[in-house]
Structures are given as C-alpha cells and as structure tokens.
Symmetry: C2
Subunit: 348 residues, 2 copies
C-alpha cells in the first residue's frame, strides 16, 4: 500500500445515526483525506443519504442486506445474515478490494466478523481494541489496550497487547522508544492482582517491549506513558469513565462559573471555548478503537458516532494503513519466532 | 455512642506531611466537629507540632514508638513494631478507649493492623475500602467499594461489599432505598467478565440489596447510582484516575482559555474559581476511604493528606460512629443468619 490510495470500506448501516451521519463523515473523509471510500449498505438508503449532500455520486456504494442489531447475539446473527453490511465490508478486505473497515455498529459483531472473516495475525492469541487518548502533554497521545475485546485475560494476552501497542506507538505515533506501562494499583512490582503480577514478570523479560513499569490510574493521562496495557474489563470501564469526564468537567465549570456582572463577562468569553473543551475530551476526537491483532485494519467507532467521529475514524484507518502496522506486527513475530522473544506460548 | 462525644484516634505519624499537617487538621477537627481527638505518636514530635499552633494543650497525646514506613511489608513490620503509631491507635479502639482510627500512613499497614487488632465483622469475609465521591447531581454522592483492599475477589465478596455499601448509603448518606450498581462493561446481564457475571446473579437474588443492574464507566459519576461495587483492582485504578481528573480538567481549561484582551478578562475572572474547582475534585474533599467490614471505624486517608483532608476524614469517621454503621451491618447479618439472605457462604 503506502504510496497507493488507501481504500476504506465503511459500514454505512452501523450505529445510532446510520446511514445519514455515517455518509456525511464518509463524504468529508474522501474529500479531505485523499482516500477512496467504499460505502457498504442498502443501495437505496445509502444512495438517498448521499444525494442529500451532493447530486454527483462521488462514493462507490457496495450493496449489502441488513445489519446486525444491538440486541442480537453476534455469532448467530452474523451467520444468519451473511450479506449484512459488516460481513460484506470484511469480505472486501479479505478479497483485498479494501484496505480497512470502519464501523460504528454493534462492536461485538464487528469483532466477531473480523475474527471469522479475516482471522488473527500469526502470533496473536487474542485481538485487542486500542484507544488513542490525549494526555496532559499536548500532542503526546497514549494508546490504551485492551479497552473491551477481552474481559478475562491471561498474562500472555497482555504481553501481546503490549507488543502490538509498542509497534503502533513506534510506527503510527512516531515514538522511537515508547514507554510501556502495565495498569496496576501501585508502582512496586509486588503490587497487583494475580494477572498483573504475572504479566509484570513477562513484560520485564521481553526484550521487544520497552517496559518501564506499572502505571497507576493517575498516570493514564499524565503523558508519562505512551502505551498502557490492561485487560479489556478494566480498560473498558476506564475508557467509558474518561469519555464521561468531559461532561463532568463542563458541568462543574458551569456550576462554578462566577455569578453577577463580572461573572457574566467571564461566561460570555468562555462559552465559545466550552465546545472546544468538550470536543477535546470527546470520543469524536479519537474516532474509535483500533482492533489490533486481526488480519486487516478495523476501526470500531462508538455507536453514537456522528460525522466528525467517522471522519476521524477514517483518518485513524489511513494512518494504520500508511504505516503498515499489521505487516510490522506480523514480520516482527516472524523474525523472532526462533528466539521466542514473545514468551506467551510458554509462560502465559 | 450516638449522643456521647465521639473519640477519634489519629495516627499522627502516618503520611507524607506527618506530623505537622496531621496535627493541624486534628486541632481544627476537635475545635469545629465536637469530637475528642487522641493524637497517637512520638510525644515530643507531636507535642512540638501542637505547640506551633497553640500554647494550650487541647489534644490528648497517646505515646507510640515509630511508624510503618512506605517500603515496609505490612505484616512483618506490624509484628516487629508492636508500639508503632497505627498499632497503638487500633488498640485504643479495641480497648474501647476510642471509637475510630484515622490514618494517612501506609494503607496496607492500616488494613493489616485493623484486621489483626480489631478483626472482621461477623458475616464479612473481606473488608473493603469505600470511597465517597461527588456526582454530577449536587449533594448526591456515590459510594464506590472496593477501591483497593482486595485485588482478587470472589463473587460473594462483592455481594458483601454491596450489602455494606447499602447500609452506609442508608444510614450515613440518608438514602432510603439506594440504587446499587455492579461496575461492568455493559448494561445487559449477559455482559462482563466471569466475576461480574456471577456477582450479577448473586445480587439479583439477594433481597437485602436494592440492586438495579450494571453500571458502566460513564455511570460512575452520573448520580444515577448510590452504591457501586467492583473488585479492589478496578476500583483503585478508577479512583486514582478520578483523582487526576481535576488536574486534567484544569490543565485543559488553562490551555483553552481564550487569548488576547478578552481572554485576559476571562482568565482574571476565572482564576479565583480554578482553586475551588480543583478542590471539588480533590481527594481532600472526601477525606479518605472508609474501611468497612472490620470491627471498628477506620478511615484510610491519602498519603499526601494535608490538614483539610484530615479534618474531613474525622468528619467521615464521626458520621460513621454517629450513625452506628458497624452495629447495623452486624445486626442485619445476625437477623438474617437463619434466612441466609447473604448467600455468600453457599454460592460464592
């Protein structure tokens, strides 16, 4: 890929605001990001949504039938609906007709479809969802994984997450030697639950992972770590908590804004900024989670995604494609399969 | 107790700012909260700290020798130093010469000393640390437990935490029927890791716990729940993350404050409020965690506690004493030991 135009398949039927907002984000992405968008969904519905924006037909529409609903059990629904939009989108990547999938649909179904249709990368037992969040240090994001794919983990899974996060940080975020931390309840290596204690040992022994030690809750957004690994239960709780933080901060700000005449001046000056503050904390800003460890680039966006989130999700996908993240994960595993630098197979 | 004056033993030697800040908080607490403070520590050091504030000697000093240092392994250190301040403080409660202990020292040591010297309440397998946090709804705090005492939990432990949180919410926070939530990755009862799935079932069956369902990360500070239960690993990560949120919000606020002349007006108006905003999010405000499930009221304050935190910790202790939280936990377990309403002994 690299120099050729990235082709992104977007599940136009997935999410609370599909297809209208998905299409709006897709149109903007193709226009501004230099990618080719393949809109997957019901041709009539998607076509109508496109025509609301433009009379030209700038986006290719790939027909699909139906979608996986939020209440459905992913595996059986995917089997029952082979032509559902997410299945069709994954097949485009499998047939190398697209380089990535973006979906704001049922996240369990996206994961399951990716596993079933694309399979895992060699050396990876469990794919993880990575979320890239801003930190206190401007321009220095942190990738946290897993934020929801695996709720019960073994130490070797976390070791693999750490490795994938390292590659992502190096090649997409441009950090030569990323600081990798293990989410834990204390700095000392003696602290933690059974999973953390055993993972700590694996990470310390792994020469491929620039492990610097445990990261506590307060360190997550400090900017002192570039990669933070945890199981998908803790990561999901933390991510959703973080997403609510913008709202909490704004609410407190509103309540604490000074009253009276001086207060009114302050408020009027601040108001235009409130939106920007909220935006900075919002999930819209980071586009979605990157499903790392499957044989294809997949971005899982929030179910409530609107156009800006989809736009950012496409950007995230393009970055992963342009920087050949999957190849690099894969090739490093190949290189080191003799030296067994990733100890998972034995220890975890 | 109730009508008689609450007697609070404060570990004057525990914490980064001991004894100066501990003593300052203690003096203010005795003056304003109508409690009797027993300062436990080295008589000379503590006496000197008191004399910096007043020439009178308003506080009783109970002599102790040494303290448990942060790097020490709690159990062996507690045994090696029987007269350490935290041991002496716990013994005061055991001999019924004090009603509660407040300490900003080594939290593992405080827990271990409480278990060794006071023992567990009947019916409780594992004590939990509960943290009372403000929510988006003013005046409607939430108690989260466990935030650090038990990193690997069984379902019945979480069920007991839910019960203790319910009692606390009812009798201290005055919520007649508290909404109890289980921290999880989704609302549906089918979501979660093994621990969450099994705990969900126990909570649903327990008539003593007003369980309303799963709480996601975004619900923690929403005010929609009065009690949230989780294992001590997740709870600790979340609490420390929440404590850092004040700082993150302030930082973003500073960066996003408008520039130029209008900006300067806004900033000058806002500045006095920044401190109040930070305070509202700070751990100082909630005083510390309540160690629930041991046979005595124990408040574990942050190691970095200064005078205001200690003051609030004493208030928290007094509320637990005045509202007879331990008796109520104990007596309900007694009442229901026949009906086995807490299923832990069988299912967990």
């Amino acid at each position: 890929m690299g120099s050729t135009q990235a082709r992104i398949a977007i599940d136009a039927m997935g999410g609370d605001h599909a297809p209208a907002e998905i299409v709006a984000g897709a149109l903007r992405a193709q226009e501004e990001l230099g990618v080719k968008i393949l809109l997957v969904g019901d041709p009539e519905e998607v076509g109508a949504a496109v025509r609301k924006h433009t009379s030209a037909s700038p986006l290719e529409i790939i027909p699909a039938e139906g979608t996986i609903e939020m209440g459905e059990e992913p595996l059986s629904a995917l089997r029952r609906k082979p032509k559902a939009s997410i299945n069709v989108a994954m097949d485009l990547v499998k047939r190398k007709e697209a380089d990535a999938v973006v979906s704001a649909g049922h996240s369990g179904a996206v994961m399951a479809a990716a596993l079933l249709r694309l399979g895992r990368l060699k050396g990876i037992d469990r794919p993880a969802i990575g979320a890239v969040l801003p930190t206190l240090i401007a321009g220095k994001p942190v990738i946290i994984l897993d934020v929801g794919a695996n709720v019960d983990c073994r130490p070797k899974f976390l070791e693999q997450f750490a490795f994938m996060g390292t590659v992502y940080s190096q090649y997409v975020l441009g950090i030569e030697t990323p600081k990798v931390g293990l989410l834990n309840i204390g700095e000392e290596s003696s602290k933690g639950n059974e999973l953390a204690l055993r993972t700590h040992q694996l990470l310390q022994k792994n020469p491929q992972i620039p492990f610097v030690g445990n990261a506590e809750g307060r360190d997550v957004l400090s900017g002192n770590f570039d990669v933070i690994v945890c199981d998908g239960f803790v990561g999901n709780v933390l991510l959703k908590f973080a997403e609510a933080v913008g709202e909490v901060a704004l609410q407190i700000l509103r309540e604490e804004l000074p009253q009276g005449v001086r207060g009114k001046i302050g408020t009027s000056v601040l108001k235009p900024n409130l939106r920007r503050i909220k935006q900075r904390m919002d999930h819209a800003e980071h586009g979605g989670g990157l499903l790392l460890g499957v044989d294809g680039v997949c971005i899982i966006s929030h179910g409530s995604s609107q156009a800006p989130t989809i736009f950012n999700a496409v950007r995230l996908a393009r970055e992963a494609i342009d920087n050949r993240v999957l190849d690099r994960i894969q090739s490093r595993y190949k290189e080191d399969s003799q030296t067994s630098a990733v100890s998972g197979q034995q220890d975890g």
